[in-house]
């Protein structure tokens, strides 16, 4: 396999985007990514579009986006790995370039969740597990899936609901500094604790919102990347794994096994010792669809040991300046979670952080030049961990 780097990124405003269609929204992210890379549509050899859909009207979004964006007759497909679809798109685009099938590939993530009423979105999200044995008979909701993990975790390790709330407070703090975030208001522990229960023990402010948005990244081969930019951001390792469709077929509810496996693979490919991850990484973007998910991620990604994740949140160690800065863009929690766009949005943020292009208050100190993104589909059903770096791989 050859090497590949991100050379262009684009990201729309996240929020309720009733001002734009799916194709319009995607195009705005694509346009920015092409301009950032200094290329035109003609330079793109392959496109992968991430969109989960169901709540939006267009059933064939990938080809619609290609047409609207003037991408011509280039090859394209839509990928789906639930909330990890965006990272799946990046992996497919990366593989096209690294295998030398393409010189330049484009990964696009787009979701229009508010084309349906909130009730329908909740209904469809609840079906995003095992439909027949979980939803049809027992009415699971997306928060309920993660609440099952939260209950087990709290019971096992003695974490408090306030510790989960600390994750929401941090991510809303960084959301307040991110002009592209859905929510740009700071909140307090009391705000979280006094919000209503959605799926006990998770409350409204423990949950990411229903959001529209798009993001795009341009991935280029080494030769092409060197021609296009002085600061290519290399994709150093992608780990991918999965877990059972039925939650009941899992051994425990204290962590996501798929994340552990994906992380191990990504660290190995990037040459990072998992036990030293917090010292090697300048920042991490983790999948905080719910506050408990971020705490599980701290442990599954090896930032701390089992049962220690909640203390990291409680002590503020994942703010800038702490043990490892996590979700300096506000995360899914405050930036928003437009399902198919989320993984691509994480990549955009990782690249901008490594290039030091963010407002100072939420710009991580870049010392080693490594950033990690962690993108989970469903309740650990799919997991992608990707490591980006300013440092080129030493061997291909």
């Amino acid at each position: 396999m050859g090497t590949a780097a991100v050379v262009g990124v684009g990201h729309t405003q996240f929020g309720q985007r009733s001002d734009m269609t799916l194709a319009e929204l995607a195009w705005h992210a694509i346009k920015e990514a092409l301009q950032d890379a200094g290329i035109t549509q003609r330079d793109v050899d392959y496109v992968v579009t991430s969109n989960v859909g169901g709540w939006s009207s267009e059933p064939l979004p990938a080809i619609l986006v290609n047409e609207y964006s003037g991408l011509g007759d280039v090859g394209v497909m839509r990928v789906e790995a639930a909330c990890a679809s965006g990272s799946a798109a990046i992996r497919a685009a990366y593989n096209a370039v690294a295998s030398r099938e393409a010189e330049i590939a484009l990964a696009v993530g787009v979701e229009k969740m508010t084309e349906s009423p909130t009730l329908q979105a909740v209904e469809l999200l609840g079906r995003a597990g095992n439909f027949f044995w979980e939803f049809e008979q027992f009415g699971l909701t997306f928060p309920a899936y993660y609440a099952l993990y939260a209950t087990a975790y709290i019971n096992q390790y003695g974490a408090k609901e306030e510790d989960l709330a600390a994750v929401a407070v941090k991510n809303h703090f960084y959301g307040s500094l991110n002009s592209l975030a859905h929510f740009q208001k700071k909140i307090s522990i009391e705000d979280v604790m006094s919000s209503r229960y959605i799926a006990w023990p998770l409350k409204l402010y423990d949950c990411s919102p229903i959001t529209d948005g798009a993001a795009a990244v341009v991935i280029a081969s080494e030769d092409m990347a060197r021609k296009l930019t002085d600061t290519p951001v290399w994709i150093r390792g992608i780990g991918v794994a999965s877990d059972t469709s039925n939650l009941s077929r899992r051994q425990n509810f204290l962590g996501l096994a798929s994340t552990v496996k994906a992380a191990d693979e990504a660290y190995r490919k990037a040459g990072i010792d998992k036990t030293e991850a917090v010292r090697r990484l300048d920042l991490a973007e983790v999948h905080d669809c719910f506050t408990i998910a971020e705490i599980l991620a701290y442990e599954d990604l090896g930032f701390v040991g089992r049962g220690e994740g909640y203390a990291l949140a409680r002590e503020g160690e994942t703010y800038k300046g702490g043990l490892i800065p996590v979700n300096l863009d506000g995360g899914l929690k405050a930036k928003g979670h437009p399902i198919g766009a989320t993984g691509v949005s994480m990549a955009v943020e990782a690249v901008k952080q490594l290039r030091q292009q963010n407002a100072k208050a939420r710009q991580a100190d870049i010392k080693n030049g490594y950033a990690l993104t962690h993108n989970v589909g469903g309740t650990g059903h799919y997991a992608y961990v990707t490591i980006y770096s300013l440092n080129r791989p030493t061997q291909s």
Partner: protein, 177 residues
Amino acid sequence: MESKEKIEKMVADWLKMVEELMKESGLPIVPDPKTSDPVWVDVRELRLRYLIPVKRIRKFFEGLAEGKLYVTKCPAKNIYYFPPQADCPACMDENIVWDEISGNGKLLTYTVVNVKPYSFAHHSNYVIAIARMSEGFNILSWMSVDDLSKIHVGMDVKLVVKRREPEGFFTYYLEPA
């Protein structure tokens, strides 16, 4: 959470407003209720109801109707399958056997669903639980309990078959043992 009837009335009222506006303007374009952006209201409603094959695990449902709970088991690999399945991907065979479930287990985790999907909006808040059965496999279902403070992780639970009302189909519930 609003009741199903209330939600249905809200939707019907809103669609009526759309219709009125359309009569005037000749276009199904209305302001978005939250942002006021002009949006085209889809005039082709899509209704979905799936037909799900159960032929190969029919015994499970026949058992429910008799008040019994079955799990499938691969005798070659000694693996239990719950939810039941007719194929064993471990031995590549479909030579599974049907075992009656003991019904005794321990609670692994649970949640109370406060905000329900629309298709469950007619139910009051329900407890979803996962228990490990004495055979070693887990079951996810609703847990019937009169007092939420009586539920705790690790407690003994038992499985029972009951009708889910008002839908009227037989299904399984966990209960304190």
